[in-house]
Symmetry: C2
Subunit: 292 residues, 2 copies
């Protein structure tokens, strides 16, 4: 059996504090200072990870089902997990190993690559709005509206005065979602250039990984200094009280998965969920059932 | 460790034949003869189920990822799982415990309840088409276009000459999907009236199950003889060579989950998948990576 992640008083035992307190971006934090191989706040070791991940996946799945159940009785709250990060940071692994522990019934996954012609013909938030999770759901954005101030900025796809306006627009958009009952969990995933090189090399070596490799990844890699600036601007300008960014060191996959799991659990626990009460007369229904 | 589900020659060891051969609807089969507590073709027992389910979930997940990977290189094939069944038959359990073993990245789940006003204003296949899985995906329909010849027929929501046309329309629609590279896995889930009563009683007893209870379920239960006729017509008229129905006895949840898992694995194995070849020059990319 796994060690308990939290003791009876709900204090994390393998975490020194609530994980988000280690991971939330703070004004003044520098992207250049991020240690991608760190494991902030985690007292355990890699060998604790598999059992702990299983155990916390169960907790996550239970809460996710409760959120979904409540939507049947009119609770309109939902969660939106926003995953951003350079290639190989492990977004796909979070979807598979963390989100994958949940029930597909209540999960809405969307990935945002190069916009299609139709998407391009609309405002950049159009495709984002179309993919928002409905009541009771966990929405997962694999890349997101932040691409419109990341790759778009780095590659000069629109003029600076256009992308420059977007930070405020994004904050206003997210405020609107929060006011509508969405808890936004924003996760910026950082992998070191050395670790990225190893992961790309593995994709070039293993036939079961070729499909994850894209020659464009190397072009992006060469642009890392410009991306670093663009990420800094994102964190500085769009880490709000209502939708803060979390900075996840991702050189150790086991750590980043545990960390994102805890962020999701914290978000769900923050909703103070309970099973919805019956919206029918239990006694009368029992009687009806007995008779048929 | 679980007993192997298939030996080295890929023959099922706990199944007497490929599961679909026991489960595929045959002309002349009568809905009234279905034994919902049977476990056709399965030689093992309930105690074999947990380990076997875990093991086969892994096989399913591996194949599902391969299907998704191939779509990145232009393979446009996809799978569509259609789940139909009376309340409490266990559709939700299939989604959670079978489909849930896959990677959310390649899964498109859609449930079809009472049509919205907008859906009602369109042809009944409009909302179905909107929810079809794209290339490389596993689409899951929790209820489907078959509602339009089941509840719609039983409750006289449209005149007989309207629903009467739909069987042929549905066959033509499904032929179109198959021609477009979709493998359709149609699953009709049957639970006995006794077992249904127990499951409904549990939903009325346990506060964590209230949300699954709907007073309308009892009305539907009372209409079982009419539903039986409607299901018979569906099976008789829409079990085609290109999209056959499978009849799943569902009184034993462990059996129905194992059975649907095997149907999905068979469908995926039938696509003869392999990891897609590199669509880039491996040597050149290795050299590029070395230099950055």
């Amino acid at each position: 059996m796994a060690k308990a992640a939290f003791d009876a008083s709900d204090t994390p035992t393998l975490w020194t504090h609530e994980p988000h307190s280690h991971l939330e971006f703070q004004p003044g934090d520098e992207v250049g200072d991020i240690k991608a191989n760190a494991t902030p706040g985690f007292k355990g070791s890699k060998s604790d990870a598999p059992d702990l991940q299983d155990e916390r996946n169960e907790r996550f799945a239970e809460l996710q089902e409760m959120l979904y159940a409540r939507s049947r009785s009119g609770d309109t709250r939902k969660i939106l997990l926003v995953l951003q990060g350079m290639d190989t940071a492990g977004k796909g692994g979070i979807v598979k190993h963390v989100v994958g522990a949940g029930n597909p019934q209540g999960i809405r996954y969307a990935s945002f690559g190069k916009p299609t012609d139709e998407e391009q013909a609309h405002h950049y938030l159009w495709r984002i709005r179309n993919a928002l999770p409905p009541a009771g759901h966990l929405g997962v954005f694999d890349r997101s509206h932040y691409e419109d101030v990341l790759i778009v900025r780095v590659r000069d796809l629109v003029p600076p005065e256009v992308w420059g306006e977007r930070y405020d627009e994004i904050n206003a958009f997210e405020k609107e979602l929060v006011d509508d009952g969405t808890t936004i969990v924003k996760v910026a995933m950082f992998v070191s250039l050395d670790e990225q090189k190893e992961r790309l090399a593995k994709r070039l070596k293993r036939p079961d990984k070729y499909w994850k490799y894209n020659p464009g990844d190397i072009d992006e890699r060469e642009l890392w200094p410009k991306y670093q600036q663009a990420y800094q601007a994102v964190l500085d300008k769009t880490s709000t009280e209502y939708a803060p960014w979390h900075v996840i060191p991702c050189d150790r996959k086991w750590y980043s998965r545990l960390a994102v799991t805890e962020l999701l659990i914290e978000a769900l626990e923050g909703l103070d969920l309970s099973w919805p009460p019956a919206d029918f007369d239990i006694k009368a229904e029992k009687k009806r059932l007995d008779s048929v």
